[in-house]
């Protein structure tokens, strides 16, 4: 293995927890990742030493708090290779970041009949805001279809993009792990005169991400899937599109001046950060970026490709036709997310048995109902990997699958 997983596991205090005397097997990182001690310590240290509100006080700890917040932003900027800190806007999560784009940029620049192109792989967070915008402006939604093995079918891309104003798509599917050809799609969108928006929530934690190499206009992702805390997400935007986007929420922090007649908003990125920002969370997210950088994102990816290959091979060898794993079969074009069905056992029943084995796996539609309809399933069980998983974890899940098979053997 390219990562020293045994030593990485020790960085994550929760993974040391035992329930009923058995270790915890956490395979739900596409949902949320566990947090290393380094992140927890950074947040605790901030609260213990420097807690104050930011961009206000003239006293020492207020300066420190401001420095902590902006230091977190600088680490995120470096982690995704954004050109400047002003291109990194903090939001509550990726969902809020995508809503910001649809509600503020979309409402200002789109009107009835304007085509917005999405893909069938999308998470509801990159669907519903556009439905909401369609309800108020009458934009037209178009969909890039998926192939049976869960890749984007780009056969008709030119036709779909003809006249389009926006292409908004996921860099990595949260259901199937599919990695999409981001640079090609961004270029195609720009050639068609459309804005390119990337939902990178599953990509940034697992694959080295360079937003400038992508060339996208907006990139959204969340902190809690990349070893960071909940409550903080990121909207990256180029100067051009961020300047052309009206403020989203109004309030303190985002203003230059307020009179009884109106307000002037402040500069980037604070123009989009109304109210007290998630300061400790920014500290935690910065520490998470440091942690992953320390492991090396190329090593992280290599580890996950190897473990993905092992997972696909071992589950298929052990269960044969009894198991159906959706998505691409080639580890090089997918991340470590496995949506699967086993015999005709409902995913809820399957993961209920898993729970008896302390195997944490999600069951359901994974907030991607249009994709589930295309796959012809209501629900799947979904296991997902991260830096702290190893082949023992996969074997433990396989044992749990077998136990479920025995329990529900009719």
């Amino acid at each position: 293995m390219t990562l020293d997983v045994a030593s990485i596991k020790k960085d994550f205090p929760l993974l040391a927890r035992e329930i009923d005397g058995k270790r915890l097997v956490y395979l739900d990182s596409a949902n949320t990742s566990q947090k290393p001690q380094q992140v927890l310590d950074a947040m605790a240290t901030y609260y213990e030493n420097s807690n104050a509100n930011v961009h206000r006080g003239t006293y020492r700890i207020a300066e420190e708090a401001t420095h902590a917040l902006e230091g977190g932003r600088a680490k995120v900027r470096s982690f995704i290779n954004a050109p400047a800190d002003r291109n990194v806007v903090f939001s509550k999560n990726a969902t809020e970041a995508l809503n910001l784009v649809a509600r503020s940029w979309g409402a200002a620049h789109l009107s009835a009949g304007d085509p917005v192109v999405l893909s069938e792989l999308e998470h509801h967070a990159n669907i519903v805001p556009w439905h909401q915008l369609a309800a108020t402006t009458g934009i037209e939604l178009r969909w890039i279809p998926v192939t049976p093995d869960g890749q984007l079918d780009l056969t008709d891309l030119d036709r779909l993009l003809d006249g389009a104003k926006v292409l908004s798509f996921s860099a990595m599917s949260n259901v199937l792990g599919t990695l999409t050809p981001v640079e090609r799609l961004v270029a195609a969108a720009h050639d068609a005169g459309a804005l390119a928006i990337v939902d990178a929530s599953q990509h940034v934690p697992h694959v080295a991400t360079d937003v400038q190499a992508w060339g996208a206009d907006f990139v959204a992702f969340t902190g809690h899937k990349l070893c960071g805390p909940t409550g903080i997400g990121v909207l990256y935007g180029t100067d051009e599109v961020l300047e052309a986007t009206p403020p989203f929420l109004g309030g303190g922090e985002m203003i230059l001046d307020v009179t009884k007649d109106g307000f002037k908003h402040t500069e980037l990125p604070w123009k989009f950060e109304a109210g007290t920002p998630p300061i400790a969370e920014a500290v935690g997210l910065g520490a998470a970026c440091d942690y992953l950088t320390g492991l090396g994102m190329d090593a992280v990816r290599e580890h996950e490709v190897e473990l993905t290959a092992y997972t696909l091979r071992s589950l298929t060898e052990r269960f044969g036709d009894d198991i159906t794993i959706h998505g691409p079969v080639e580890p090089a074009i997918r991340g470590g997310v496995f949506s699967f069905s086993y015999r005709d056992i409902h995913p809820h029943d399957l993961t209920q048995v898993f729970d008896q084995h302390n195997v944490c796996v999600r069951a359901g539609h994974h907030c991607a109902k249009p994709l589930m309809r295309e796959l012809g399933v209501n629900a799947t069980a979904r296991a997902s990997l991260y830096v702290y998983n190893d082949t023992d974890d996969i074997d433990a899940m396989a044992d749990a699958i077998e136990a479920a098979g025995d329990f529900f053997a009719f």
Binding site: H348, D349, Q356, H365, M372, N378, F407
Partner: protein
């Protein structure tokens, strides 16, 4: 930690294996009502045919469509068997009794730790007293264990909520 046998009682697995009243009814005259569990994506369809000639009206026929987990499917199967031929008033009492049995732990979520669980169990007795005395839950009693698995309560109540909506559709 409650064990699997607390949840998956034999009678539940029996209804899951051989669901009663599975299928469709022609609609109209029957009403067709869909129910969704937004957590897992399960969908259930309740086809309901009422006999209006009797007073109060009775459930003439009921069929269950859709798909779901063992808990939602067995609950729907048991429900269909329990309400067929019953008056709407009886169905209402049965629904109240069943949902009473299911709602108890929803109040004591997340149900972590032994203390909480005991609280829930004693509460169960209290709520039982509110259930109409002449209501016999019969097979449905087997679903009582579901309350120890709070996430699954919605699986068990999906068909009942859909039935209630169906009755509203059919009588409005």
């Amino acid at each position: 930690m409650p064990g699997l046998e607390d949840l998956y009682r034999e009678i539940i697995l029996d209804h899951y294996r051989s669901p009663r009243n599975k299928g469709e009814l022609e609609s109209p005259p029957a009403t067709r009502t869909e129910g969704f569990n937004p957590l897992c994506g399960d969908e259930i369809v309740v086809y309901l045919e009422l006999d209006d000639s009797s007073e109060p009206p009775t459930v003439e026929d009921i069929k269950i469509g859709g798909q779901g987990c063992s808990i939602s499917q067995s609950s729907a199967s048991m429900m269909s068997a329990a309400v067929k031929g019953k008056t709407l008033a009886e169905v209402k009492d049965l629904t109240k009794a069943f949902k009473g049995m299911m709602s108890i732990h929803e109040q004591s979520l997340p149900g972590e730790g032994a203390g909480k669980e005991e609280e829930g169990d004693s509460g169960l007795g209290d709520l039982e007293a509110e259930i109409p005395e002449d209501v016999k839950l019969g097979d449905l009693e087997a679903l009582r264990g579901v309350v120890k698995f709070p996430v699954r309560i919605k699986c068990a109540t999906l068909s009942w909520n859909t039935l209630a909506q169906g009755i509203e559709d059919a009588t409005s």
